[in-house]
Amino acid sequence: MTKIGLEIHCQLTNLQSKLFCSCKANYREFAPNENICPVCAGIPGSLPRLNQEAVKKATMIAMALNCSTPEKIAFFRKNYFYPDLPKNFQITQLNIYGDTSVGGTGTISIGDKKIRITRIQLEEDPGRIIYEGSSSKNQITLVDYNRAGTPLVEIVTEPDFETPREVRDFLNILSDLLKNLGVADPSLEGAMRADANVSVHGGNKVEIKNIGSFHDLEKASHFEITRQESLHDRDIPIAQETRHWDDRRKITVSSRSKEEDLDYRYFLEGDIPWVKINPEIRDELKLKMPESINSKKERYISKYKISAQVADVLSSDKFYSDLFEAAHTESNAKEVANIITTELMGLEDTREKRETSKLTAVHLKELADAIQTGTVSRNSSKNALHAILKTGKSVSAVISELDLGNVSDETELLKIVEKIIADEPQAVEQAKSNIQTINYLVGKVMQATKGKADPTLTLNLLKKQIGI
């Protein structure tokens, strides 16, 4: 039996400033060591200045994951030497001296399965190390402290996963949840990282670190399970250890034992007084909390009769569900949902495409309305959407410029219908005996009109002309 537990680190990328100073939380745009100050660079005499907004955001995450939230939280020092750690200690949280972490135990569902959360803690990200030079002899180590002090939330789970697939599903759900909460953009490079603890057959736990992406996490777990299974099969004991994921060789490698034996000498961070999270703050956060993905999904299904599958896809993506909320009306909701999930998500499948797209909620609303009133066929609406994304022109302008308007003029359509009937005698005979096959003829009319024919009118005309 395989057990996997996770430690997920997620940067609160939507915050303005770092956890303990006013440097930017979004360090990605800076040249090395330009987003630093005495506090995040650990200059002697500097003191941490707690970002209260970070505490609120972290508490929101804890609430969204159904975790207990204590009335008072405290910060601790985790002491160890590392080149990327300006103070040679990290300010973090603990639950060993009582529940003082921002979040206690909680659960999150993946399908029918419940994954237990052990705790959620708020802490500072270290800097980044860049190794340059090929051989170890002339390798140089560069440190960029721009990231140091970025607010980080660590989510620790119980070893409740049984397959790497479950891990991946969970991370996708978590990632959507964090995005939906408006606390982080997990798609930013390095914004969401995870370590895995893997054990098989009730054996020793092995921690895997240095995993760059969710995709690699799945691979690393696979590798580790296979490695442990094969040791187990041959009765070789599995050592409790920390292993690193070697991205190049796609294997896990044992870390030096020195690192495992670290004694972090945790103790209370005296420079940050305990923070009270009183019921009023929790109530305020509850009010500010966006609707959960599940509740959104339920609402889409029950209120707008949107199919479960479409509702699922739509609700779990914050960007598109926001777009949906802005574009839909009582009457066109289903149409808007369909355009987004069947067309738009495919057209805007990268961040870059989303950012360069000129489509607005107004476009989407008008396009859905146009489909519903028969001004444009569903088929032609795809071409319209393409054009709007590129040009940002209004729906009516695009329809007329591209000549996408429905052929709903009866006399004009009748001419085409008559021609099709003349060209397809066999199909006409078939339709007479089996009404279902008339769809073939409707298709032919559509073909002839490049999809612009009003489908209802076409059907009626065909029936009338054939005499059924």
Binding site: I43, P44, G45, L47, N79, F81, D263, Y266, F267
Partner: protein
């Protein structure tokens, strides 16, 4: 004739009235420093722009421009406080070349009031010690007898104030580091309520208990300094709001009817008889002023020094971990070293006392030992705080000698760290409990000073200064013989 011996308030008054030329006063101060530093070694560095700053201020004063309330008063600053673009060494070889890139909050507040920072004062390395003998740049000497230690760790501050090398000084007090040298050098030394003064820019030793404190010639001067530097600071989350309290106002209210507890546990075994006599004299003087004095025992005091060293070593081990010499420090190239071997080699530049405490600090909070040492020490801290809070239900103030012994000779105790540790017995309680405490110069015996300590409850700093002022008025002391 410029009188360097005036108090801060007198300086301010004279400068305001145009009776003092700042340039002249600073010039004379620098001459005084020049003539006595060989014997005293109060300073690690002297501000070479002090005279220029003085001239600028004189111009401002003459032209009637607004001038800050310090009017160019020369102040010495313990060398663990950051002054932008100047060296801040903590009296350590580790920070030999460290130039602070910013001002500590207390520094920027005093800058705004046009104080002149005359120099950086000597101290025990990273404020660990009580004699300044652990300064990597050599000890300061007691101006009352230069064969004797001036106390510490803010020894340079106390020496510079008592020997007229400046008008006032800022020190820091982690376990008595302001009060102890104040007592040994016969100056006023103040440790405020924890959180009253910002620590931003003060290089941490044991951050959960230490405070900045002024060293001055009079209690009024301390109140004056406190008015300038106390109060909430957005850069230090542990500061408390004092509602802009005016500590000078009503300072002469007296202590009639105030109840004072005599801490018997600070006057027991090992106390010098002269110190005991002086303390009894102080008590009867306070009674003469209408105070009601009564003995009180604080049981936890006997464990306080052990708790103090356990907690401070733990915090020091963490606070000093950043000195890996990678981004600042001293000249020691990194080429050819692996990270861990580099830092362990670089960190050998710490002196013996810092090294000792860092080794203790690595041990007492470590897994497997924390329960026996660090957590136990934290329990003592909690219990002591409870005990003293109980005492303050009955008493307005507490009294004890600042240091149980007289100043001793340089070198006399340096090889006996435990006996040195024990000298802290009377001062660490205020730090462990966060209470304000003050040392008032009280007596000179055989040419050596004795200070008396008063303590008050948290945020009762004003009351404490009123009492200290009242006691101070009862004594006249001889002038320092240097």
């Amino acid at each position: 004739m410029t009188n360097l011996k005036i108090s801060a308030l007198e300086f301010v008054e004279e400068a305001k009235n145009g009776n003092i030329s700042v340039e002249d006063f600073i010039g004379k101060t620098l001459e005084r420093i020049d003539s006595v530093e060989d014997k005293l070694h109060a300073f690690l560095s002297i501000n070479d722009k002090a005279l220029d700053q003085a001239r600028e201020l004189d111009k401002k004063i003459k032209s009637g421009e607004d001038v800050g309330s310090c009017f160019g008063m020369p102040i010495s600053i313990k060398d663990n406080m950051c002054i932008k673009n100047s060296k801040t060494t903590c009296a350590s070889k580790m920070l030999e070349n460290f130039i602070a890139p910013y001002d500590a909050t207390v520094i920027s507040k005093l800058k705004k009031q046009d104080a002149i920072f005359i120099g950086k004062a000597n101290m025990d390395e990273f404020a660990m010690g009580l004699t300044t003998e652990f300064s990597a740049y050599g000890p300061s000497k007691n101006p009352w007898n230069t064969e004797y230690v001036p106390g510490g760790s803010s020894g340079g501050s106390a020496v510079s104030v008592s020997s007229f090398e400046c008008v006032a000084s800022l020190g820091s007090d982690t376990g008595g580091s302001v009060r102890n040298p104040a007592s040994f050098c016969s100056t006023v030394g103040y440790k405020p309520t924890y959180g009253l003064i910002s620590r931003y820019g003060i290089i941490s030793y044991a951050n959960s208990i230490e405070q900045v404190g002024p060293l001055t010639r009079t209690v009024k001067d301390t109140a004056f300094m406190l008015n300038l530097i106390a109060g909430i600071d957005p850069n230090d989350n542990t500061t408390v709001n004092n509602n802009n309290e005016d500590y000078l106002a009503n300072i002469d209210s007296g202590i009639e009817g105030k109840r004072i507890g005599i801490i018997t546990d600070m006057m027991g075994d090992g106390i010098d008889p002269e110190v005991l006599t002086a303390t009894k004299e102080a008590i009867s003087k306070l009674e003469g002023l209408g105070a009601i004095c009564e003995e009180i025992s604080l049981e936890m005091v006997k464990y306080s020094v052990a708790a103090y060293y356990t907690i401070t070593a733990t915090e020091a081990g963490s606070n000093l971990a950043r000195y890996d010499n990678l981004r600042y420090g001293y000249d020691f190239p990194v080429e050819g070293y692996e990270f861990n071997s580099y830092i362990s080699k670089a960190r050998r530049n710490f002196g013996p006392e810092v090294t000792r405490r860092m080794i203790i600090g690595g041990f007492v909070p470590s897994a497997g030992h924390a329960g026996k040492y660090f957590l136990k020490a934290m329990k003592v801290k909690t219990k002591l705080t409870k005990e003293i809070n109980e005492a303050f239900k009955k008493f307005d103030l507490l009294i004890a000698p600042t240091v149980p012994v007289l100043p001793f000779k340089i070198g006399e105790k340096i090889d006996d760290p435990v006996s040195l540790f024990l000298i802290d017995i009377n001062t660490v309680t205020a730090n462990l409990t966060g209470k304000p405490a003050i040392s008032i110069p009280f007596k000179i015996v055989n040419g050596l000073p004795i200070g008396i300590q008063l303590l008050a409850n948290s945020m009762n700093d004003k009351l404490l200064l009123q009492a200290a002022h009242a006691l101070e008025q009862t004594v006249t002391l001889p002038e320092v013989p240097i």
